[in-house]
Amino acid sequence: MVLGRRAFALIGLLVVGMATTGCFSRATGCPEGKTCLRYMAWGNPQQFEVERQIVKRFNEQNPDLHVTVFSVPGTSYAQKQIMMLGSRTAPDVMRVDHYFFPNLAAKGHFTDLTPYAKADPSFDPDVYFPTALEECYVEGKLMALNVLFGGIAMYYNKTMFREAGLEDPWELHQRGQWTWARFRQSAIALTQFEGGRPKRFGTTVPQLPAIIACLRGFGGEMIDLDANRSLLDQPGTVAAYQFLADLVWVDRAAPTPAQGANFAFTFESGKVGMVLDFMGMIPRYREVAKGFDWDVAPIPKGPAGGRTVIKGNQLVIPKNCKNPEAAWRFVKYMASQETERVLYAQIRRCFPTRKDVAYSPEYLQTDQPPYQLQAFVESVENGRILPINERWIEWINALQMETDNLFAGRERDASVVLSRARDKINTILSEDPGL
């Protein structure tokens, strides 16, 4: 059989079309004679632009290397990341949310950085907060360096407190009197209803992981990582959940899920007096929270103290990276004093992992709110990391489904809800993780 001239012409046209539209293109953009690295992160356009500038500075300081940064939307980041790791197409350096890190590290996706750290005389682990490195160790091996790190503190509307004649939480904290009992009194006093409809609330029910900070204040915990079993039936855990549910349904000092839907009551709108959150909220609050004074204070103390929650995200070198030495240089630069000063002291995206930056006047002194940045320093000094294990996503989902009913007011007894959640979580933890 013979192909006609027209058929050849058509097929030729298709091939040319595919080539020109990039189907066969293999351009990488890597400059001649340089070792090239790809770095993947998430962030909004402003945050991404800052990272691009940091990468540019790294490239200028390291003429033998060339790093290109690309961002993936936060909403699809986890899926993209696992697909890339699974298909061995992951970039040389990537940021991993700590919620996923233990799971992915346990599966052997990442390069062990211990030998690079030990062989590098310029790397000193003592410059970092111990908790910043604690998240990065897996079975005694350093698998990452921490970025976008910090502890949960409490943002509060100073104007609202002043107008209600309440004492300032930061001052109470300094006297050791900022407690969950005081928090409750303040929340009730700050709440206002008008014609039966809520005008403003004293607080909101903290979301995960902030809720764990409250649990710890009452002496509770969610899970015993060593024994691999749920601790939801502990008296402290039950008391904390009951306390939060009562804030909504007994005190009416926090919005119900229905009242709070569609961001009807947010701190930045001036309709909520106190919220628990990470330092990463500062840029947004500075931009949006207008017309009132605000500040931060450590989370209240409970019967068991006031140990808050600490969480970071990890910079890792995937196993498929062809130049781990070069990638290590870049990872180290991202946790360097120079970078942290830009990321954390100047734009306040999160809390520094380095003590020298956190304790520096550049970080601690500011002429715009929040003024008491010491609150974040204290949270990192006193806090503990989250109880995240390989099955975190599964068991936390099971817990949330149970507590939905508690916070929606369909059930009022936290001990009943939590005992059901405990059984479900223990079942999950006892099952084969792959099936």
């Binding site: 013979v2 697909m83 569609n262 489904m401 149970e402 792959g434």
Partner: protein, 295 residues
Amino acid sequence: MKRLADRPAFWGWLFITPWLAGFLGFTAGPMLASLWLSFYKYDLVNLEYVGLENYRRLPLDPLFWKALSNTFAYAFISVPLGVAGSLMIALLLNQKVRGIPLFRTLFYIPSLVPSVAAAILWQWVFNAENGALNLGLGFLGLPTPQWLQDERFTLPAFVLMSLWGVGGARMVIFLAGLQGISETYYEAARLDGASHRQQFWHVTLPLLSPVMFFNLVLGLIGAFQIFTQAYIMTGGGPNNASLFYAIYLFRTAFEQFKLGKASALAWVLFAILLVFTLIQFRASKKWVHYEGGEA
């Protein structure tokens, strides 16, 4: 020897090649791969043959039954309601009144709204405090439920929302079907003294039954795959009240990385859809009437 280019089949194959390549590479290939994977324990790194273990364990998982029952309830309520709604609108838009093209456009517009945007819009509609629905219900003195926060009302909320699409493609297909019915049937019915209602039951419905059958089959398949709305509006909550099968499958695969189990879930869904489609085809012999032929 006949030149290849002179054969019509050659051109046919050539022009469907892009689709064929896409179908084999992105549909048939992954389907077969997922069938193979369903016999393995796979987390994108470790692959271990487990035989039928993934399938054996599914009925032991309470979330599997929750997802299945939610999806069945949604499909078997929303599809008949949706088909009936589309038919009613098509009947209205088939009338010969002034400005009918405008009405047709207006009814079709909601289906042009991207599903994510529609989900966000409906979140506002269902807002228990300030949503349009509860404001209306409150005005009429009726109870105002917490639609998306109270597990008793979440599924009804999604069924209600599914009616948003009644003016879309399904309605257009009904309209095309209505316009394909010859006027002579109605003329004959009128000569026999048939009323409007009798004409609808004995002429319109039987002649529209193939279209209705098509809409039912596709509607059921689509309803079993509901995902976007629930993923955005409730994330499967509260208390798994809107955990639909596709959300459960997605979570298993892309949040828990249990690719083997997720593949088994996908094939179970495929089997369920196949069985229901076959049942519909078998049942259609009793109620679907094709012009000029047997059912």
